[in-house]
C-alpha cells in the first residue's frame, strides 16, 4: 500500500535521511523505532511532502514524490505530528470539523464515533482546544486526522508524556483503527506498546533503516537493541 524507496531528505543544506526503504501493507500496523534525532519524524514528514526530498514514495500505486502536502492528504494519507498541532483558539468541535476534507461527514468516522471513543472530547466540545490537557490534545489531534478518513495514518510518538490511563485509551483507539481496515505507521521510542501492537517493526539509526522484522525477531535480537535502541 505504501512503498518508500531510497528516500533522501534535507533541511536546507543538511542531509538528514540517507536512502530510507520501508513499506506498509493494507491493514497492517508497522512501527518505526529508534533513538532521538535519528530521523523518524523526518521520514514521515517527507512521506507527507513536508520536507524537501528525493527518491520514491508510492501510495496505492501512485507516486507522491514532488506533490504538495494537501494533494497527498487527499489521496488518503494522514499524519499526526509529534508536536500536537491543535488549533488552540478554535473549539474542540471546530478542530474536528477542520479534519474533514469536505463539508459533510463521510467515510469511516463520524463526529459521534469520536465522542463515543473519547467522552472527554464531547464534554469539552465547545471549549477552546488550547485549554485542554496534553493528553486531551493528543486525542484531539488523532481524532482530527481520522475525521479526514485516511487509509493510512502516520502517528508520531502518540504516548509521549501521557499518563498510563490515557496510554491505554490511545492503544484502544489503535485497535479501533485497525478494525476499520486502516493501516498505521507508528513512530515510537518506547518498545512496549510498539512490540505489542505491531505486525512488523523497522529500526532507524543515522537516517537509515538498520533493522527490519517482526516484533519477535527484535525481541530475539539483543545486538540490534543494544546498538540502536537502548540508551
Amino acid at each position: 500500500m505504501l512503498e518508500v524507496k531510497d528516500l533522501h531528505s534535507y533541511y536546507g543544506k543538511s542531509h538528514i535521511l540517507h536512502g530510507v526503504h520501508l513499506n506498509v501493507r493494507q491493514g497492517e500496523i508497522v512501527s518505526l523505532l529508534g533513538r532521538n534525532g535519528v530521523g523518524r519524524s523526518t521520514t514521515i514528514k517527507a512521506i507527507m511532502g513536508q520536507v524537501q526530498s528525493s527518491g520514491s514514495v508510492v501510495f496505492k500505486g501512485q507516486e507522491l514524490m514532488g506533490q504538495k502536502a494537501y494533494m497527498i492528504a487527499r489521496k488518503g494519507l494522514g499524519i499526526v505530528p509529534e508536536n500536537r498541532d491543535i488549533f488552540p483558539s478554535l473549539t474542540v468541535r471546530q478542530n474536528l470539523l477542520l479534519g474533514m476534507k469536505g463539508r459533510k461527514e463521510s467515510g469511516r468516522w463520524s463526529m459521534e464515533d469520536m465522542y463515543n471513543l473519547f467522552p472527554r472530547l464531547r464534554e469539552r466540545a465547545e471549549a477552546p482546544a488550547g485549554v485542554m490537557s496534553g493528553g486531551e490534545q493528543q486525542m484531539l489531534t488523532l481524532c482530527r486526522t481520522l475525521m479526514g478518513d485516511p487509509d493510512l495514518v502516520m502517528i508520531d510518538e502518540p504516548t509521549e508524556g501521557l499518563a498510563p490511563k490515557i496510554v491505554d485509551q490511545v492503544a484502544n483507539l489503535f485497535d479501533e483503527i485497525a478494525k476499520r481496515g486502516i493501516s498505521i505507521l507508528l513512530v515510537e521510542q518506547k518498545l512496549t506498546i510498539a512490540l505489542r501492537i505491531s505486525q512488523r517493526v523497522y529500526v532507524m539509526g543515522h537516517g537509515q533503516i538498520v533493522f527490519e522484522g517482526t516484533p519477535d525477531d527484535l525481541r530475539a535480537n539483543e545486538g540490534v537493541r543494544k546498538e540502536w535502541l537502548e540508551v
Binding site: A69, Y70, D85, F87, L97, L98
Partner: protein
C-alpha cells in the same frame, strides 16, 4: 460640546476607515510574517478605480467594481509575485512589496497625472443627515461609517462562522498542519491576500472622495496604517481595531486644538515672553504638532510595550 460631538463622529468615521486598512494588513502580516508595504497602494488604486468607473457608470457600480478589481490585482500579486519571491526569504518579500508600492505610484502618475483628480461624493449622498446644534453633519460621513461597520461585521462573521473562515484562522498560525489535513493552503493565502486588498480598495472608494484622491495618498495613509499596526501590536486584529480608533481620534482632534504648552504654562502662572528659554518650543500648538503626534504615540508605545498594545509576536 458641539465641537466635541462633531469631532468625535469625524474621528470615528476616520478610525473605522483606518481599521478597514489595518485589518487587512494585519491578516496578511499574520499569514506572511512580513508587512506588506504596498497595502496602502491598494487603497489608492481603489480610489482611482472608483473615480474612473464613476465617470462612466456612476458611484454605485464603482462601489462594487473598484474593490473587486483591486482584489483581482491582490490575487495576482500573491500568486505570481509573493509566492515566487517567498523562497528567497522575508527580506526579499519586503523588498518586493516596497518595489510594488513604487510601481503603483508611478502607474498612477502616468494614467492620472500628479494633481488630485476630481473624485466627488455622489450627489444623492451630498446632503446633511442631521444637525448637531448649529453644525450640519454630512450624510456621506454617516454612509462611510455604515459601510465600514457593515463590511467589518461581514468580515467577522466570515472568519468566525464559516468553514473557510475557520480554515483561514487555523492557517494563520499552523499552515503546515492545515495543509496536511488536505486543505489547499496556498489558495487560502491567495484568498486572504485578495480579501485584504479588497478591503483596502473599498476603503479607497469611500475615503478617496471624502478626503482627497491624489498620488501621494498611498504614502500618507500608508505610514499612518503602519503606525496603527505597530501601536496595536503586529498580528492582532483586536489591537488594530483599538489602535485605529485611537490614532483616528488623535489625528482628528489634534488638528482642531489651538492650545500650546505656552497656554498651559501661562495658565499655571508662569510668565513667558520671547526672551524665555525654549520659547519656540512652548508656543508650538497641538494643531501644529498634529502630523507628528501619531509617531510620538507609536514611539512611546514601543518604549512601554515593545510588542504593541495586544501583540503576541516578537519584533
Amino acid at each position: 460640546m458641539e465641537f466635541f460631538l462633531v469631532t468625535t463622529l469625524n474621528s470615528l468615521s476616520y478610525g473605522l476607515l483606518l481599521f478597514m486598512l489595518s485589518s487587512g494588513l494585519t491578516l496578511i502580516f499574520s499569514m506572511m510574517g512580513v508587512l506588506n508595504f504596498a497595502h496602502a497602494s491598494f487603497y489608492m488604486l481603489g480610489a482611482y478605480f472608483a473615480y474612473q468607473t464613476s465617470t462612466y457608470l456612476g458611484f454605485w457600480p464603482a462601489l462594487v467594481i473598484a474593490p473587486l478589481a483591486v482584489a483581482f490585482l491582490g490575487a495576482l500579486t500573491e500568486r505570481y509575485g509573493l509566492r515566487t519571491v517567498h523562497r528567497y526569504g522575508h527580506v526579499a518579500e519586503l523588498l518586493f512589496t516596497f518595489g510594488l508600492a513604487y510601481i503603483i505610484e508611478e502607474f498612477v502618475h502616468l494614467l492620472w497625472g500628479r494633481a488630485p483628480v476630481e473624485y466627488k461624493i455622489p450627489e444623492i449622498l451630498d446632503f446633511s443627515a442631521f444637525s448637531i446644534f448649529s453644525t450640519q453633519y454630512p450624510a456621506y460621513r454617516v454612509f462611510m461609517m455604515l459601510m465600514s461597520v457593515g463590511m467589518l461585521a461581514c468580515l467577522y462573521l466570515v472568519l468566525t462562522r464559516t468553514r473557510i473562515g475557520l480554515i483561514i484562522q487555523a492557517s494563520l498560525t499552523h499552515p503546515e498542519m492545515v495543509e496536511a489535513l488536505g486543505h489547499n493552503v496556498p489558495s487560502v493565502f491567495m484568498t486572504v491576500f485578495a480579501g485584504g486588498a479588497a478591503l483596502a480598495g473599498l476603503a479607497g472608494v469611500i475615503g478617496g472622495n471624502a478626503f482627497v484622491t491624489e498620488p501621494g495618498m498611498a504614502a500618507s495613509v500608508g505610514t499612518i496604517v503602519f503606525v496603527v499596526v505597530v501601536f496595536g501590536g503586529m498580528g492582532s486584529l483586536a489591537g488594530a481595531f483599538i489602535a485605529s480608533l485611537i490614532i483616528g481620534a488623535v489625528q482628528t482632534f489634534s488638528v482642531a486644538f489651538d492650545y500650546s504648552l505656552a497656554t498651559l504654562l501661562t495658565g499655571l502662572g508662569v510668565q513667558l515672553n520671547t526672551e524665555s528659554a525654549w520659547y519656540e518650543l512652548w508656543k508650538v500648538t497641538i494643531a501644529q504638532a498634529a502630523p507628528v503626534l501619531p509617531y510620538i504615540l507609536m514611539v512611546l508605545m514601543l518604549i512601554v510595550r515593545p510588542k504593541g498594545l495586544m501583540g503576541t509576536r516578537e519584533g
